[in-house]
Symmetry: C2
Subunit: 299 residues, 2 copies
């Protein structure tokens, strides 16, 4: 897959997710409108839709049907969106902008932002559960995928990672601790997307294992490049002020090992991700392309 | 069932829920400990365990096995607990005490309280999903029950009710609007507990319908008595200062129709709840007892 055809394919798939998402949320006019408007605002925010793409692609590579797993793909994006809304709150990172727009609580107030996050998380499970009942997905596979996603999003996964991240502001953790935190905060949901896509498609354990290794490496790569972008990215492209990690005195890869070494680590992680897919043929080229995209992204 | 034997039976069942709950939560020492301690603090707070009791009893009356549906019963209590943690936050009701103890955010800080709420909600779905995979529950019934619970807890149910409640502070809604708000904020989850218990037990539609009517009436009765207790309850028994509705300028039944009329409405709702069970024999006596208990409760 050439870089150009990857970029086209990426945009096509992002568009597909974008088109499907609204059907899984109540209309913004649904009573009471303010919560549904806040949910829409948080979900349709110019996100890269990376997590749903991983879930859809894992299912497709494992021989499944992307259309069938679309409700799960949209549900993981809702979980990701809720986590951003809550992370941005004054009591957490206290961020005013995300992707160039005022954060949810700046527009709808703090109470509505907390509740919109709660509602997106709840809706994610409603969507997955409903889709499993509609007969196009095997109920047991759907339940297994939901366990993966719920565990990854929970107190020993994404939420636990955020707890550690907040607690480590002003601290200076070792590299291992930083990686452990990122594996929980970002990596766990990446891995869950890949695993649950594969599980929904009925993949063999070896396939699920390979995707797990890929997701773990991709998640670390994503986090390192995130830290690098926070230092040298273009604020107008990222959509928030650069240097926010410094403001919060957050531990980052560049701060711990220097910018050059951080870049080298990101490249290593990207290579590890690609190497995890060595058992696959050209059908995994899009996943390989994603490993380069995450390394080279500018936002 | 005499009042005395009902009270004993109520305590026995509350105890049963209390004993089962810890198994569905990571230990408080699980890494990172602060989030798991906050989750435990929020969940083991002297609650009446009314929602799990409703779910267990609906399943039992419908011919199911209470032990089998225990994970669902514990999950709805987690959802209820998370909603209390978030409702108490400074950005919402800003309450310092709940059931005689400092609120979660007062003990663990605002960020950890938000995250502990998120984690309890996530864990509730992890528990329901895992239990459905363990083979003792029919997967399709489990999925149907989860749809009921997720919908009731979501933006058109409990969360929507909280949004309206916050928006109506200082407003003076009509009685119908107040009831509509309470049906969302409290009633929807009551009804979902009864419906999902019945669904898990494989109940016929007529049974589910009867329980729906019972839950709706019980939920309104509960909310009216809640408002009355906020005026004339004993602060040491309720565990929070009385008069907090007045402080927040919240619309209440006594404020709208007067204390005597509110008492009469609560009695009517309790009678309606009992009348909804006319198709059942003595097997529904505990549910009938609950309708009196909710009417006459002192906390």
């Amino acid at each position: 897959m050439t870089a150009l055809s990857f970029a086209e394919e990426l945009r096509r798939r992002q568009q597909l997710v974008e088109e499907h998402l609204p059907a899984f949320l109540p209309d913004p006019e649904t009573f009471p409108p303010v919560i549904h408007q806040a949910m829409h605002y948080a979900l349709f925010n110019g996100g890269k839709r990376l997590r749903p793409l991983l879930l859809l692609e894992a299912a497709r590579v494992a021989g499944g049907d992307a259309e069938q797993v679309m409700p799960f793909a949209c549900a993981v994006e809702m979980i990701h969106s809720y986590s951003l809304v809550h992370d941005d709150l004054p009591a957490m990172d206290d961020d005013d902008y995300r992707r160039g727009k005022p954060t949810c609580h700046r527009v709808f107030g703090e109470a509505n932002a907390i509740l919109a996050g709660d509602a997106l998380l709840t809706q994610a499970f409603a969507v997955m559960t409903s889709s499993a009942l509609q007969g196009r997905l095997d109920p047991r596979r759907a339940l297994r995928a939901m366990v993966e996603i719920a565990t990854a999003a929970g107190s020993t996964g994404m939420i636990g990672g955020q707890v550690i991240d907040l607690a480590s502001e002003g601290q200076h953790p070792a590299l291992e601790q930083l990686q452990a935190m990122h594996r929980m905060k970002t990596g766990a949901l990446f891995v869950a997307c890949l695993r649950s896509g594969a599980i929904l498609a009925g993949a063999a354990a070896a396939v699920v294992d390979a995707f797990t290794a890929y997701g773990d490496a991709l998640g670390l790569c994503f986090q390192i490049t995130d830290d690098i972008l926070d230092i040298e990215g273009d604020a107008t492209v990222i959509g928030k002020p650069v240097g926010s990690d410094l403001k919060h005195d957050k531990a980052t890869y560049p701060a711990l090992v220097g910018l050059e070494q951080a870049r080298a680590m990101a490249r290593d992680c990207s290579r590890t991700a690609v190497a995890s897919l060595q058992g696959f043929g050209p059908e995994a080229d899009f996943l390989r392309g994603l490993a380069s995209y995450v390394l080279e992204r500018v936002n």
